[in-house]
Symmetry: C2
Subunit: 237 residues, 2 copies
Amino acid sequence: MKTNSCDCGTCRHKLCAQRVPIFFGLNEEELSHVADLIQRRQYLKGEIIQLEGSDADCLTIINQGKVKAFRYTQEGKEQILYLFSEGDFFGESNLFGGRKAAYHAEALERTHICMIARNDFQELVRRYPEISVKIIGALCTRLERLETTVQNMGTRSVEARISSVLLEFVEKYGVKNSKGILIALPFSREGMASYIGIARETISRKLTLLQDAGIIEMIGNKKILLLNEEALRRELD
Amino acid sequence: MKTNSCDCGTCRHKLCAQRVPIFFGLNEEELSHVADLIQRRQYLKGEIIQLEGSDADCLTIINQGKVKAFRYTQEGKEQILYLFSEGDFFGESNLFGGRKAAYHAEALERTHICMIARNDFQELVRRYPEISVKIIGALCTRLERLETTVQNMGTRSVEARISSVLLEFVEKYGVKNSKGILIALPFSREGMASYIGIARETISRKLTLLQDAGIIEMIGNKKILLLNEEALRRELD
DNA sequence: TAAAAACTGTGACCGAGATCATAATTTCAT
DNA sequence: ATGAAATTATGATCTCGGTCACAGTTTTTA
């Protein structure tokens, strides 16, 4: 498997810090200061990174891989809240609000993370105030996604919600090829269903319809080829 | 009508800044600096404070009153995203992300707001970095509410969602009296329905059921008396 | 590469909640 | 206080999407 991360002991931490948007704008020296505070860890697919209700007091930044953030209802029904990828972070509400973790976090594939302890991070923010501006920006982006999700769940048909999530994946993970845009799905059908709050069977049926309409082509269970983006956008309403 | 705000020209601005959580922690002098940058405005019930898509480049802080933030779908269906009260703010994504307003904002009653222009605010944040920490805290609170809303919409029955919103109002606007907790509703039935993403008729029916069960008592259209909080909590699931 | 395990598709059925229509109440304005 | 306007309640009906059951595929593993 191809890897694009450096494995020498000294630079890997710096690398991590460099890649993370909230540290953009720091210079070499500052980055290396950040790097000294970072602890790295690796998780395999399916491993739990954070438990809902725990008070892990550190900021967790995803350096490579994908993570789902989710909660269970009392009856055991799962709702996925976020799909985090490279550069995303979580645990900020532990640090800033002093709250317990609001959701479980599980690696969807092999995932490398960087952790910074509460005290170290607070010190960093004090020293480099532009970091907090970056964080505010990231939180605003997150709020916007949730706002749209709430609107979709409250007002839109299941078809529209499915189109919406497919287009989200296209944007994040889509790769153009001669026939269309190939999406490597981050979730199983079950996961997609839980992400938009519907039943697995329903998403199966609707994807079959989209395929019959020539809008998508399902390739195994883990890839979808988008053949007609225009038509998919029309499904949004 | 009783008013608890000072009307002399000099101190009213300072008053406004003092009340707002994101300026807590500033001293007298700093507050008065902030006050100099603030522009006040008043809106009557039903007036639009912000239009979705506009690029009002200022931070808007609610000093008194209530504001609903909402969007329309193409078919004209409304989804309420936030209910803002005293001390809440919006417009931050305009300032920090350079984005257009993500929703309409409308006064639900007579509302006083404070506005700070983008440049002034950026200067403030630079000068008093603890403001940005306060903002991060507020955004985390907002995220948490939206996360719970998404979970409710995705996994919970309409009964549970109604109980949830009633309990939210109890916490925000409830006043204990001898019979129970009196809630002055910020929304009409229509508004409550739009807030949790269901039909107005459905909420009517379910509230009637709750009343028949002796859990609440509806007083006109604008007040609800909660008789049995325990029972209402059980409805959550 | 074959068997096991996990995941997905599909039909049948059902029910919660939407929609429509209309009556009853509440609120507002004069 | 009273009539008009707005809001809410409620019955009838319908439909979308959930649930259950099971067959068919895909993926994993040994």
